[in-house]
C-alpha cells in the first residue's frame, strides 16, 4: 500500500494519455520554440473537455523483474490551460485494488490530492511532493505525466525536419531538477511529442520517453503507447492506454470524496 502513497500522481497520467492534439496545424513551420512548446503542452494536457481511459503499465527493472499497474482515470478540465480534476481507481496490483486518488490540479499552485485506502476506509489527504520522483513505482515521474510548465524552461528550436520540430529546453532554475537540459521531438502536424530525452550535467542522455503508438479516437490522434527508459540502469516502463473516450459529459460533482469510497461506475466503464 505504501508503495502507492503517491499514486495520486496517476491522476495526472490521464493528461498525457488522454491527450489530443490541436488539429489546426499551421500551413507554414513555426519558428518560435516557446510557441511550439506551448502548443505541445496545450495539446497534451488540455484537450477535450473530459476523458476516460484504462491505463496499464509494465515496469521492468534492471534485473528484468517486472511489475504491473492498472488503473482507470477520469479527467475533467475546468479551464483550458488551467485547473483540472482527476479521479483514478486502481485495479492492479492486487494489494492496492480499489485504492483511489482524487487530484485537483491547479495551474498556479500546489495540487490538492486525496488518497483512499479501502482497507481502513480512510480518505487521506496527501501533502505536496517532489515532482521528479517515481510515479507509483514506475519509471515515469509525476511531472512527465501531469506536465511541466513551459515557463519553467528556456526553449530553442534546434532543427525543423519534414515531420518534426527538434527543441532543446534548458531549465531557468536548476532547483528541483536533475537534468541539465532535455530535447523534444515534436510532430509538426499533431504537436504530440514523439520523444523526450533528458541530459545530465555531464552531457549524457540518461532518460528517454518515447511515443510508441498513436491511435485516432473520436477523430483525435491520441498517444496510446509510451515507453520511459532509465538509460543508466536499463530499467523501463511501458504504458498502454485503452478504453479511451472523450467528451463524455462527466459532471464536476463526481470529483468528490464520496467517489473515492464508491467510484462512479457509470463513467468508469
Amino acid at each position: 500500500m505504501k508503495t502507492l502513497n503517491k499514486i495520486w500522481l496517476a491522476a495526472a497520467a490521464a493528461a498525457i494519455l488522454l491527450s489530443t492534439p490541436s488539429m489546426s496545424a499551421e500551413a507554414g513551420d513555426l519558428k518560435d520554440a516557446s510557441q511550439i512548446v506551448k502548443r505541445t503542452n496545450e495539446a497534451q494536457y488540455y484537450a477535450a473537455n473530459d476523458g476516460r481511459a484504462l491505463i496499464r503499465m509494465k515496469i521492468v527493472d534492471s534485473k528484468g523483474r517486472s511489475q504491473r499497474r492498472q488503473f482507470s482515470v477520469l479527467r475533467r478540465d475546468l479551464k483550458d490551460g488551467g485547473d483540472q480534476n482527476y479521479l483514478v481507481v486502481f485495479d492492479q496490483p492486487a494489494d492496492v485494488r480499489n485504492t483511489a486518488f482524487l487530484v485537483k490540479k491547479h495551474a498556479s499552485k500546489d495540487d490538492d490530492r486525496w488518497l483512499y485506502l479501502p482497507g481502513l476506509d480512510l480518505v487521506k489527504r496527501i501533502a505536496a511532493s517532489d515532482e521528479r520522483t517515481s510515479f507509483v513505482g514506475t519509471h515515469f515521474f509525476y511531472e512527465d505525466i501531469s506536465g511541466r510548465h513551459p515557463d519553467e524552461d528556456k526553449h530553442e528550436l534546434v532543427e525543423t525536419t519534414d515531420t518534426e520540430y527538434l527543441v532543446k529546453s534548458t531549465p531557468k532554475s536548476s532547483k528541483g531538477v536533475e537534468f541539465a537540459h532535455y530535447t523534444l521531438r515534436i510532430n509538426k502536424k499533431t504537436f504530440l511529442p514523439s520523444q523526450i530525452e533528458y541530459v545530465n550535467a555531464q552531457g549524457k542522455a540518461y532518460r528517454r520517453i518515447e511515443t510508441a503508438k498513436v491511435d485516432t479516437v473520436q477523430g483525435k490522434p491520441t498517444i496510446t503507447r509510451l515507453k520511459v527508459s532509465d538509460l543508466e540502469s536499463g530499467g523501463y516502463t511501458l504504458s498502454d492506454v485503452s478504453n479511451v473516450s472523450y467528451d463524455l459529459g462527466i459532471p464536476d460533482d463526481i470529483f468528490v470524496e464520496t467517489s473515492l469510497r464508491n467510484p462512479p461506475q457509470k463513467w468508469l466503464r
Binding site: K2, T3, N5, K6, K58, G64, S66, R68, P93, A94, D95, R97, D112, L117, G119, L120, D121, L122, V123, R125, A127, A128, S129, D130, T133, S134, G137, H139, V158, T161, T163, L166, T183, R185, N187, K189, T190, S194, Q195, V199, G203, K204, A205, Y206, A212, K213, V214, T216, P221, I223, R225, K227, S229, L231, L238, D240, D253, T258, Q265, R269
Partner: protein, 540 residues
C-alpha cells in the same frame, strides 16, 4: 466481545499445533520466495538478448553522442524497422504518413516484444475478474485476497502472560466485489488459524450493499469498516470500532479498524456532504482484555495477562434495544483548499471503562461496562508551507456523570489535535502531531476515585512522529511511528520495514516497543507485550 467465534471444537486442539501451522505458512512462503527469486535469476540468464538488446540501443545515445546528434532523425532505417514491428504506423490515425514521426521510436527489440503483453493482459489476469458482457449496463465482478503468515514473539519477560507469542497466525482473506452502475455488493472475509489463542477465527470485515441514488444521495447497508477524522493513528471524532489487539501485534494497519453492522447514508449538496451512520446494535472496540495482551487493571492494582483468572475481561454489554444503538454524523465541505468538517456522535464509550457498581466486599465484584457518551467536534485541514496542517477538536460529553463525582462513570473530556506533515526530501515524509486530553472536573474525579493513584492527569499530552522513506522504486518502505507522552513518561515505538520482493509477495518486519516509567499509564501498561514481528503476504 469479539464478534468472531470459534466454530469447531477441533480448533481448540492446542496452541502448539496451530503455532506450527502459522510457522509452516511462513516457512512455506519463504521457500516460495526463495524459489521465485532463483527462478527470476534463471529467467534473466536464459533471456540475455532482451537485456543486451536494450543495452545496445541505450548505449548509443547515452554514451558519447550529444543529445542533438542522438535526436537526429533516424529516418528511413528507423521507419522500416518500425513497420516490421508490432507497433506500426498503420495503427495510427487517418494520416499515417504524417504521424509516422510520432510512431517511430520503438527501436528496441526487447521493447517490441513487451508490448504484446498488453494484448493478452486481461486473459492472464482473468482469474481475478470478469466483466458483465453487456458493458456499461452489466455487472462487473472481482475476486481477490491474500494469504498471510504472521509471527510476533514477545521480547521482554512477562509475569502476567504465559504465552510467549503476541501473535502466531496464518490468515486467508477473500475479497469479492460485484459492481453495477447504481449498486454494488462487497465482501471481505478473513479466516485465520491463531496460534496465540489456539483457535480458528472467522471474521467478516465487510458484507455490504451500496446503492447510488443519483449524485445527491447514496447508501451502504450491512457490515462495514468506517473511518473519518484528520488524525494519524489518533481518533477524536471517529467513534467507530477499533481493534487495539491487532494494532499492537504487527497485523496490517487496516486491522486497527474493526467492522460494525451499520447503515450509512450520504447526502451531497453541491460542495457540502452529510454522512449519517446508524449502528443499531452498539459495536464496541476490540479492546485489550488480558487474554492476548496484558494491561493494567486498576481494580486489581496490577498488570493482568493470560495467567489471571479474570482474563479475558467480560464486560456487561448494553441491552440490545433500539435506544442502545449508536448514531454518527458528519457534515463536511471545503472552501478552496481548506477542508472543514463538523461531527456528532451519540452512543457509548467505545471501551468498558465504567463499572456496574462501586466495589463492595459484601457483594460479588462489579462488572466493567460501557457508559453513555455523546461527542461533538470539528476539524480543519489545509495546505501550509508545502505541507498539510490539520486541527481537530472533540468534546466527549459523558452525560451520565457531568458533575464528575460518580467513580463508576468516566468524566467528560475535551480532546484536541494539531498535526503537520510534509515531504522533507524526495520520497521522505515526516508527520508531527500534538494531542491533548483534558479531563473535566478533575478535582471531583480524584476526590471520588476508587484508584486515585492510577487516574489520568488532568492534562494528558501526547506527541507523535511519523517518518517514512521509500526506496528502490518504491518497493522498499522504511517507516517509523513514535508516540510519546511527556506527562505520563511512556512511549510506543513502531519501526517497520516493508519490502515487495516480487510482485505478489511482500514481507514486513517490524516491532512494537512499549516503555513507561509506570505500569498504569496508557502505553506503560503494555510494556510486557513488547514484541517483534515478521509478516509475509501473498496477494492475488
Amino acid at each position: 466481545m469479539k464478534p468472531t467465534i470459534c466454530t469447531t471444537k477441533q480448533c481448540h486442539r492446542g496452541g502448539g499445533s496451530l503455532r506450527c501451522i502459522a510457522m509452516a505458512a511462513l516457512v512455506f512462503a519463504a521457500l516460495a520466495l526463495a524459489s521465485s527469486a532463483l527462478g527470476q535469476v534463471d529467467q534473466v540468464s536464459a533471456a540475455p538478448n532482451v537485456e543486451e538488446g536494450a543495452g545496445e540501443s541505450d548505449a548509443g545515445p547515452s554514451t558519447k553522442s550529444p543529445p542533438e546528434a542522438s535526436a537526429d532523425p533516424r529516418s528511413e532505417e528507423a521507419l522500416e524497422s518500425d513497420a516490421e514491428g508490432p507497433v506500426n504506423a498503420a495503427d495510427a490515425a487517418d494520416s499515417p504518413e504524417e504521424l509516422a514521426g510520432d510512431v517511430e521510436p520503438t527501436e528496441q527489440s526487447g521493447g517490441d516484444e513487451d508490448w504484446g503483453e498488453f494484448d493478452d493482459w486481461d486473459e492472464e489476469e482473468g482469474g481475478g475478474e470478469g466483466e458483465g458482457s453487456s458493458g456499461a449496463r452489466g455487472w462487473g465482478f472481482q475476486l481477490g485476497g491474500f494469504v498471510e503468515g504472521l509471527v510476533a514473539p514477545r521480547v521482554v519477560r512477562s509475569s502476567a502472560s504465559a504465552n510467549e507469542f503476541a501473535a502466531a497466525e496464518a490468515r486467508f482473506r477473500l475479497n469479492l466485489d460485484a459492481t453495477h452502475e447504481i449498486a454494488s455488493a462487497r465482501f471481505r472475509g478473513d479466516v485465520y488459524a491463531d496460534g496465540a489463542d489456539s483457535r480458528v477465527w472467522f471474521d467478516i470485515r465487510d458484507a455490504s450493499i451500496f446503492v447510488r441514488g443519483g449524485t445527491w444521495f447514496n447508501m451502504r447497508f450491512g457490515r462495514q469498516v468506517l473511518t473519518w477524522g484528520t488524525g494519524d493513528f489518533l481518533f477524536l471524532n471517529d467513534l467507530f470500532p477499533k481493534d487495539f489487539n491487532s494494532f499492537f501485534i504487527g497485523r496490517a494497519d487496516e486491522y486497527l479498524k474493526a467492522p460494525s453492522n451499520s447503515v450509512q447514508t450520504t447526502f451531497m449538496m453541491k460542495k457540502v456532504g452529510l454522512d449519517l451512520i446508524w449502528t443499531p446494535i452498539f459495536e464496541p472496540d476490540r479492546f485489550i482484555n488480558g487474554e492476548r495482551l496484558s494491561f493494567f487493571n486498576p481494580l486489581l492494582g496490577q498488570i493482568q495477562g493470560d495467567r489471571s483468572e479474570f482474563s479475558p475481561i467480560q464486560p456487561l454489554f448494553p441491552d440490545k434495544r433500539l435506544r442502545n444503538g449508536s448514531i454518527h454524523g458528519r457534515l463536511y465541505g471545503s472552501a478552496g483548499p481548506v477542508e472543514l468538517a463538523a461531527y456528532g456522535y451519540v452512543g457509548f464509550w467505545p471501551q468498558p471503562i465504567a463499572l456496574t457498581a462501586i466495589p463492595d466486599p459484601a457483594n460479588p465484584p462489579p462488572d466493567l461496562t460501557y457508559a453513555r457518551l455523546a461527542v461533538y467536534g470539528a476539524s480543519v485541514r489545509a495546505p501550509l508551507g508545502g505541507g498539510l496542517i490539520n486541527v481537530e477538536g472533540a468534546f466527549y460529553d459523558s452525560f451520565d456523570d457531568r458533575l464528575g463525582t460518580d467513580p463508576t462513570t468516566p468524566n467528560s473530556q475535551f480532546r484536541g489535535l494539531v498535526g503537520y506533515e510534509r515531504e522533507l526530501f524526495p520520497k521522505f515524509q515526516m508527520g508531527l502531531q500534538y494531542y491533548l486530553e483534558y479531563t473535566l472536573k478533575h478535582d471531583e474525579l480524584l476526590a471520588n476515585s476508587l484508584w486515585r493513584e492510577y487516574e489520568q492527569h488532568e492534562f494528558r499530552h501526547l506527541i507523535t512522529l511519523r517518518l517514512t522513506q521509500f526506496l528502490v522504486m518504491d518497493n522498499l518502505e522504511l517507516s517509523l511511528f513514535v508516540f510519546f507522552s511527556p506527562d505520563e513518561l511512556d512511549t510506543y515505538i513502531r519501526p517497520r520495514i516493508t519490502y515487495k520482493i516480487i510482485e505478489p509477495l511482500a514481507i514486513v518486519v517490524g516491532a512494537n516497543l512499549m516503555f513507561g516509567r509506570d505500569d498504569y499509564t496508557f502505553f506503560g501498561q503494555l510494556q510486557e507485550n513488547t514484541n517483534v514481528y515478521a509478516r509475509l503476504r501473498y496477494s492475488f
